[in-house]
């Protein structure tokens, strides 16, 4: 186990090194004039020169890269053009908000996706199976932003069941920040009204964002479940008269999860991408909304800082998933 951790950490360093190189290319090389990109709209010549001097953009590229790397290691992701605040500070403020959204989206996707995948496999080629599969194809086909809009139209505008924006009704007091999750912080401060309100706000964005993941999970679980159900040991289990329920869960699902869990885990990281769209649609004040606003405001340092942080989070999440999978498989655990 320890060897694996060490191996993966070495890999992580290598990948992060590569990530920094790519973000460097994107911020210093790809834009025609990086100084113009950093300056925001309509800069004067003097401002541009000042930026070049400040960021050493006149220096040779390898020097620029080393400077860039040095900045990254010290947590310097640049300064936001719009707010003039350090990008890292801003992103860290929004991070828990995004994490809360993707966590709930993920929980929704798993809670619904695994049972649906199992049912679909167990009732292979039945009417139920076809409905579930169509539902799953829908999830990977629906434009996330449009799905969100339709939900707002139906569940907010027409039915009025759920709020369409923000994390909490304005008249309620924001809980004191402990974890940054409103659902947790409201409970800590004992404000049950705010707790239920925050859950209500989470429902639509989490479901919209989770649907894509749900679709992935259903397809993955279905196919590895079908695989498990056709294995010899499953027949042995049946021949030994074990109950159907027990067979499906302990003989089928337990084995189907080993190949599934990696893919499911990786889909958690990719929720970070979907969050950009979801947060914009549902006015969810997280990193995703921050980056769309940065795109509109031509706030280049903020976009690049976001990219670095997301890549970092994605790589770390995937590492954790890897280790989790490793610890679940008896074959590798011993």
């Amino acid at each position: 186990m320890l060897r694996l951790v060490r191996q993966r950490l070495a890999m992580l360093v290598l990948v992060l090194f590569g990530v920094s190189f790519i973000t460097f290319l994107m911020s210093h090389v790809l834009p025609g004039d990086p100084a113009a990109a950093l300056a925001g709209p309509h800069p004067s010549k003097e401002v541009l020169q000042a930026i070049r001097d400040q960021f050493g953009l006149d220096k040779p590229l390898p020097v620029q890269y080393l400077n860039y790397l040095n900045d990254l290691i010290h947590g310097n992701l640049g300064t936001s053009i719009r707010s003039q605040e350090p990008v890292l500070t801003e992103l860290m403020r929004y991070f828990p908000t995004t994490l809360e959204l993707i966590t709930f989206a993920f929980i929704f996707a798993i809670l619904l996706g695994i049972p649906l995948g199992v049912i679909s496999a167990v009732k292979k080629n039945s009417f139920t199976d076809y409905v579930v599969r169509l539902f799953a194809v829908g999830g990977v086909s629906i434009p996330l932003f449009w799905g969100g809009l339709v939900m707002i139209l139906v569940f907010y505008a027409k039915l009025g069941w759920f709020p369409a924006s923000g994390r909490l009704d304005i008249e309620l007091t924001t809980p004191e920040t402990v974890t940054g999750f409103y659902t947790v912080d409201t409970l800590i401060s004992g404000d049950t009204e705010a707790f239920f309100n925050s859950v209500k706000h989470l429902v639509m964005p989490a479901v919209a964002l989770g649907y894509v993941q749900l679709a992935f999970i259903v397809r993955q679980v279905r196919s590895s479940m079908l695989d498990a159900l056709s294995q010899d040991y499953y027949l042995t289990g049946r021949a030994n008269g074990l109950s159907k329920r027990f067979l499906i869960i302990r003989y089928g699902l337990r084995n189907a999860l080993i190949p599934s869990i990696t893919i499911i885990g990786l889909s958690f990281g990719s929720l970070l991408g979907g969050a950009v769209v979801t947060e914009t649609i549902f006015d969810w004040p997280g990193m995703g909304k921050y980056v769309t606003e940065s795109i509109l405001g031509r706030d280049f340092p903020a976009i690049m800082g976001f990219t670095v942080i997301i890549a970092l989070a994605y790589v770390i999440i995937n590492l954790l998933v890897d280790l989790l999978v490793y610890s679940l498989d008896p074959q590798t655990r011993k």
Binding site: M11, L14, V15, L16, G18, V19, F21, I22, T23, M26, S27, L30, P31, G32, A37, K124, N125, Y130, L134, V137, G138, V140, S141, I142, P143, L144, F145, W146, L149, V150, I152, L153, A157, R222, S223, L226, G269, S270, L272, G273, G274, V276, V277, T280, I281, V291, T292, I295, L296, F300, I303, M304, F306, T307, I310, A311, Y314, V315
Partner: protein, 279 residues
Amino acid sequence: MNLLLRSIRSLIKNRFAASAVIVLAIVFLVGVFAPLLATYSPADTAPKDRLLAPGSLHYFGTDELGRDIFSRILYGTRVSVGIALVAILLSALVGTFIGSFSGFIGRWIDQVIMRITDVLLAFPTLVLALALSAALGASIVNAALAIAVVKLPIYMRLARTQALSISQSLYVKSAKTFGVSSGWVVRKHVVPNLLTPIVVQITLDIGDAILLIATLGFLGLGAQPPTAEWGAMISTGWNYLIDQWWYPTFTGAAIFITVMAFNIVGDGVRDLLDPKSGE
């Protein structure tokens, strides 16, 4: 009874795939014949006809500048589907080339190329596409480039795996022993074996690419106004969601239906060409 049930099932199954193929055929025809089918020019503004509800004159209503949404969706097919196709084909071409090169050459070159794919895969797809288009500057061409780059590692890895197994497989080795020209080996064995999984991957990726194009357009990074691109249309349309629901709704439905058809056909093609991965 059993037999009846089974034939109904296979009919449904075929119907899924069959209707998806029909939808795709319609999408392609619409793309090609958009100028003939459109009832208005996609760019003609009519300030007094702004935000009209769907009716006999404007099937899907009009937008905030009085442009006919139905016609804009028809023209948008060319942009969204066309750009997605170009992006994926470009990605597949370049990725397959680099990947198979990497697999056949091996050694340190292979190592370096594979680490590059690791790094590219260290970003969530949408975030990398977003950052790339932001760096290149917001335009539809740059969005297509960004999508091609984002999809690159998939093709590189796929081609590499195939190239490795092909170059080590018996028939290529024996062909070499018999002194057959390498051009013949490539044409007769390598290309067909390499092509199948690549074609499967391409059909599976097109739907995703359409979604990415639309998403970038929606975020303001893809097609710029006044181009009739689906994502960009929804980007302005969603401001009118509550009172003029038809504006973003029909456009989104166009994306949804098209992508779904591509995905169902993609799954079908996979099951057909690559029975191992099917159910």
